[in-house]
């Protein structure tokens, strides 16, 4: 395991772009996966068109691009389970939690019970979350 010299910081990945139209969503996910080895305190926020990254049933056969959405399911295995979705953004797009992939993790402090990784947050909650961070990486 790599590490960062014993320091633990709060990292927030802010995702505001839709998938496929540009590569930011995919390459953001690549940072998150690599970053998992550093054992930092990681949160992901999905805001604006970023919420579309978590839409279920993505199927890219027709456009010849790789469907990377299954990778979000692996985040729980990397101990990345704080995934915050902006409720306003979701509602503006006519979506609800049911339209998103069901991302979960196994809680090792609770007998490995399977728990949801996604939390819907309102503006105030999201703003408060952002204010707790040490490092904000925007994509």
């Amino acid at each position: 395991m790599e590490e960062g010299g014993g320091v633990t910081k709060k990292f927030l990945y802010v995702n505001r772009k839709a998938p496929y139209g540009s590569i930011y969503a995919l390459e953001s996910l690549e940072v998150v996966l690599i970053g998992a080895a550093f054992e930092q305190d990681v949160s992901l926020a999905f805001i604006d068109d970023g919420v579309y990254q978590l839409k279920k049933n993505q199927s890219t056969d027709g456009i010849g691009m790789k469907n990377f959405s299954p990778t979000y399911n692996a985040l729980g295995d990397y101990d990345i389970n704080k995934i915050y979705v902006d409720k306003d953004s979701l509602e503006q797009r006519g979506l609800s939690l049911d339209d998103l992939m069901n991302l979960t993790y196994e809680d090792e402090n609770d007998n490995y019970a399977e728990k949801p990784s996604i939390s819907l947050v309102n503006s105030e909650e999201l703003a408060a979350l952002m204010e707790q961070q040490d490092v904000v990486l925007s994509f």
Partner: protein
């Protein structure tokens, strides 16, 4: 203060690289330390030595190389992003069976872990993109 910089867009197409350069230079002039400049996404294209910009325009790549020399800056190009976009150093070219490389002086290719490390080691990280 120790600062980290991330550049997410290539030269000329977007202002991100210009803004990052002007910011980095100002920070250095004020005596701050730049822990690392990390080039990600199309930002990796800032590291090609093959650009030939018009005579009356700035040379974005050379400017970074010179700043790196002057201040001993660590300019890191993300390997995964670079491979997708065709930015290689001599080792990478050899490893991938390519007949040429195009990296400019003062840049080095490394992994995404270098970005995380920049986040950990820098007191502030600033992202320049589109």
């Amino acid at each position: 203060m120790k600062l980290g910089i991330m550049v997410s867009e290539g030269p000329y197409q977007h202002q991100a690289s210009d803004s990052a350069y002007n910011f980095t230079k100002a920070a250095l002039e004020k005596g701050h330390e730049i822990f690392r400049v990390f080039f990600y996404h199309d930002g990796v294209n800032n590291a090609t030595r093959l650009t030939v910009p018009p005579q009356d325009d700035r040379n974005i790549v050379n400017r970074w190389s010179e700043l790196a020399k002057q201040y001993d800056l660590d300019l890191v190009v993300c390997i995964a992003a670079a491979q997708r976009r065709g930015l290689l150093d001599e080792n990478e070219a050899k490893r991938n069976g390519k007949d040429a490389n195009n990296i400019a002086e003062g840049f080095r290719i490394s992994g995404l872990g270098q970005l995380i490390e920049a986040g950990i080691q820098s007191e502030r990280l600033v992202v320049f993109g589109d």
